[in-house]
């Protein structure tokens, strides 16, 4: 079959699979799983088959639905346009879908109404693939709507899970601001240009810059950043991730956010081609850097495993957007590379969280602990993911983060704008905080003391570990072979994004691109380091880190010993995990929530001053009455105490009320509109 049919066949196989599951899924479980397996495998194969011609051959596939080829300069039908950028995101989507589908077979087997789950899952996948492959602006809106609808339904799929309905409702209501913005932007563009084809818009826009198109830019930018859960919308992501099934968390964090990133890249690089204007660059980079920093600090306060991962997810998307906003070839490559890496390692971490949930039934960081003995394989996978996200060398996060620092610093030097230097420092700081945060997670889930209730925990079945291993191997491969990835995948995608004229020609034929900017020269001058020597050095460093970690766990003491140590060190027993368990023996059970009050240790008895100390409020999120371990799960108590005013402000800010989140969205919309009108 002709290659130009591959994109549409990939999209349709997912949707057709969804309908077949809806029709026959109830009859037979094996048949249903077969349909799902086929539906997630075919698009992956088709996308991989397209790598050779599109990525390496540099071909742009233009495909007109129903053979409605353009008449004169006017594109009358809907076109699919697959250039290297689309294919790059298409690959990310299909890999994530494939892994998530495989993982669901075992992970979801305790739920009912599974035919609805798979229908929604496949429709979500199809809409995501359709979004990145399409060349029509209104079609993007339709796909965004399918995506939002199915993602919301899947978030609420475990209706009895605490907070599932609430998270879904927030996602839907606040997300509708984004959908409305996108449609308003499309309508405003249509009123000026009278076309919906992106290539044609890109060709015509440079001649039609006025208030309306600038307003459309602001609306579209805000709409896409809602879908990427950027800064004022990040509470939605946290709520939705935390309550969705883990396989869906992978999709939301790994792919839905990437579709927002894809939209922003298309908007700024291809449609408006205004990324080189300082105002646009600062706007996008600023949003990215702020999300990056705020979310990584928010993650410190979390005690739900998946909610913590959700905040980290948005923090990483912040990195991507920061890099994309720089507008240089290096910055864009860094952003794309990190986007791909983020899908891989964050998917792996979410699947690990799902495995922990499957095995123990809990995601509470305060209650979990010591699972490394019971689930060693999951623990190893988690460590790979954690090392990747923290940017430790040989893993993939290191290279992309390095590129981001370098790109932002270079941009700062080139333009002489101090803003980019600040951004670079913020990125570095966030990376440090990410590492710190994952040390805490590893310590409170997999190491430390095993709670008696989890004594019977078993390792998850192999069918769940295989998808995780796929992601882990990809994490390592993209980390060990960065040059291959840069040359074969990321480089062509970045070049395609910088080549607006090529995009227009691919769809409308040569001659249509006369008005577009000249093709930006793309160079691969990335990094000054010899990769091999750096790798060796960093391997040694990481070995040292591992050694320290191993020694640290070996020195573990029994609770009694530790309590004694704490006492000698003058620490209050209530502040450490195991110490708290001891304190339970000293205290009356009624006083178990001692951390609300002010414990004072005198001799061998603990007394409470009975006053609620605001110093400890940081440690609790969610229900106030919820039992939370302050001590062992919280390595960074001092840091948090010093920053408590910031954390308290943040807690008040993430109030959990829909109206507040909507209000932030409206303020952001007004800000972006005003900014665009003033500076563009």
């Amino acid at each position: 079959m002709n290659m130009e049919h591959y994109p549409i066949l990939a999209i349709i196989s997912l949707f057709l699979g969804a309908f077949l599951v809806a029709l026959f899924g109830r009859l037979n479980k094996v048949l249903r799983n077969l349909i799902v397996a086929a539906a997630v495998t075919i698009p992956l194969c088709l996308m991989i088959a397209l790598i050779a011609p599109v990525m390496i051959g540099g071909q742009v596939i233009g495909y007109w639905m129903g053979n409605w080829a353009p008449v004169g300069p006017w594109a009358i039908g809907i076109g699919l346009e697959v250039d290297a950028l689309s294919l790059f995101f298409g690959l990310v989507v299909t890999i994530a879908v494939f892994v998530s589908g495989l993982y669901s077979f075992t992970y979801m087997n305790r739920d009912d109404s599974l035919e609805n789950y798979y229908t929604l899952f496949l429709m979500l996948s199809g809409s995501l693939l359709g979004l990145v492959l399409t060349g029509d602006l209104f079609n993007i809106f339709v796909m965004i709507e399918i995506m939002t609808m199915t993602a919301v339904a899947l978030t609420a799929f475990r209706v009895d899970y605490e907070g599932a309905l609430e998270g879904a409702l927030k996602y839907m209501v606040v997300g509708s601001i984004g959908s409305t913005s996108v449609l308003v932007g499309i309508a405003m563009l249509y009123s000026q240009l009278h076309t919906l084809n992106m290539a044609q818009i890109a060709a015509a826009l440079p001649d039609h810059q006025n208030l309306v198109t600038v307003g459309a830019f602001a609306f579209l930018f805000l709409g896409f950043s809602t879908k990427a859960f950027l800064f004022p919308f990040h509470p939605l992501a946290a709520d939705a991730h935390a309550v969705a099934p883990a396989s869906i968390s992978l999709m939301i964090s790994g792919v839905i956010t990437k579709c927002g990133v894809y939209g922003i890249i298309r908007l700024a690089y291809i449609l408006y081609q205004n990324i080189n204007e300082p105002a646009v660059s600062i706007l996008i980079t600023g949003f990215g850097a702020v999300s990056c920093f705020i979310c990584v600090t928010m993650a410190f306060n979390q005690h739900d495993f998946k909610r913590l991962l959700a905040f980290h997810s948005i923090s990483q998307v912040g990195y991507v957007i920061t890099a994309v906003g720089l507008g240089t070839a290096l910055g864009l490559s860094a952003g794309l590379y990190h986007a791909m890496n983020h899908t891989l390692f964050k998917g792996l971490l979410f699947l690990c969280a799902g495995a922990v949930q499957y095995a123990t039934g809990s995601l509470d960081l305060g209650r979990l602990g010591g699972l490394a003995k019971k689930m060693p394989k999951t623990c190893a996978l988690f460590l790979i993911g954690a090392a990747s996200i923290s940017g430790l060398p040989p893993f993939n996060g290191f290279f992309s983060k390095w590129m981001i620092y370098q790109a932002s610093f270079e941009k700062g030097l080139d333009t002489g704008n101090f803003f980019y230097i600040v951004v670079c420092v913020v990125c570095l700081l966030s990376s440090v905080l990410t590492l710190a945060s994952f040390v805490k997670v590893a310590q409170s889930v997999f190491f430390g003391q095993l709670q008696p209730q989890f004594e019977n925990t078993k390792e998850v079945p192999l069918t769940m570990r295989i998808p995780m291993w796929i992601l882990a191997v990809l994490c390592i491969l993209t980390g060990v072979l960065p040059w291959e990835v840069l040359q074969k995948l990321v480089g062509p995608a970045a070049a395609a994004a910088l080549n607006a004229a090529g995009y227009i020609q691919g769809m409308l034929g040569s001659g249509a691109a006369a008005g577009a900017g000249a093709q930006a020269a793309f160079s691969m001058e990335i990094g000054f380091w010899g990769p091999v020597s750096w790798l060796c050095l960093l391997l040694i460093v990481s070995c040292a880190v591992c050694l320290v970690a191993v020694l640290g766990t070996a020195e573990q003491k029994s609770p009694e010993e530790r309590h004694e140590m704490d006492r000698r060190a003058g620490r209050t027993a209530a502040f450490t995990r195991d110490g708290f368990a001891d304190a339970g023996r000293i205290l009356k059970p009624a006083e178990k929530e001692g951390h609300y009050r002010n414990p004072v240790l005198s001799g061998t008895t603990l007394t409470f001053t009975g006053e609620k100390d605001p110093k400890y409020e940081n440690f609790f999120s969610g229900e106030e009455s919820e039992y939370s371990q302050v001590g062992g799960g919280d390595l960074f108590w001092g840091f948090k105490t010093n920053w408590r005013h910031y954390f308290q402000g943040m807690r008040r800010w993430h109030s959990g009320v829909i109206n507040d989140y909507t209000r932030y969205g409206i303020v952001a919309l007004a800000f972006v509109l005003l900014y665009a009108c003033l500076f563009l």
Binding site: V142, M172, L183, A187, Y190, N301, S655, V657
Partner: protein, 116 residues
């Protein structure tokens, strides 16, 4: 006079956003979402208006010399957008029914178990 349509559509969108940001009742928040939808639909369909144009249908015997059509594309887009809005509403209503059963309230300030 098409200016009135445009202005009204932006006014409806702002009103819908106000509803979503201020009203505490979930049903009223849903109504706010609906208002945003209607405002957007009005904007889209107004974009295709041509003064003096007629409905884009080649009805036999109704077409006279010198006639021209309004833009048919935004009408089709509006149709799509209306269906999407209806589906969104249905979905949110489903969620609200379950939330009412689970939390026993429709007050948005009490539905905040996920926060911080």
């Amino acid at each position: 006079m098409i200016l009135v349509n445009y202005a009204a559509s932006f006014f409806l969108i702002a009103l819908g956003l106000y509803c979503m940001a201020v009203k505490k009742n979930l049903i009223k928040i849903l109504i706010g979402m609906g208002l945003c939808d209607y405002g957007t639909n009005l904007l889209v369909v107004s974009v295709g208006f041509n003064p003096g144009g007629t409905a884009p249908i080649f009805t036999a015997g109704e077409i006279h010399p010198g006639m021209f059509f309004v833009d048919p594309v935004p009408q089709a887009l509006t149709l799509t957008s209306i269906v999407i809005g209806a589906c969104t509403t249905a979905m949110v209503l489903g969620l609200i029914i379950r939330i009412k059963a689970k939390y026993g309230t429709l007050d948005s300030t009490e539905i905040r178990r996920l926060r911080g």
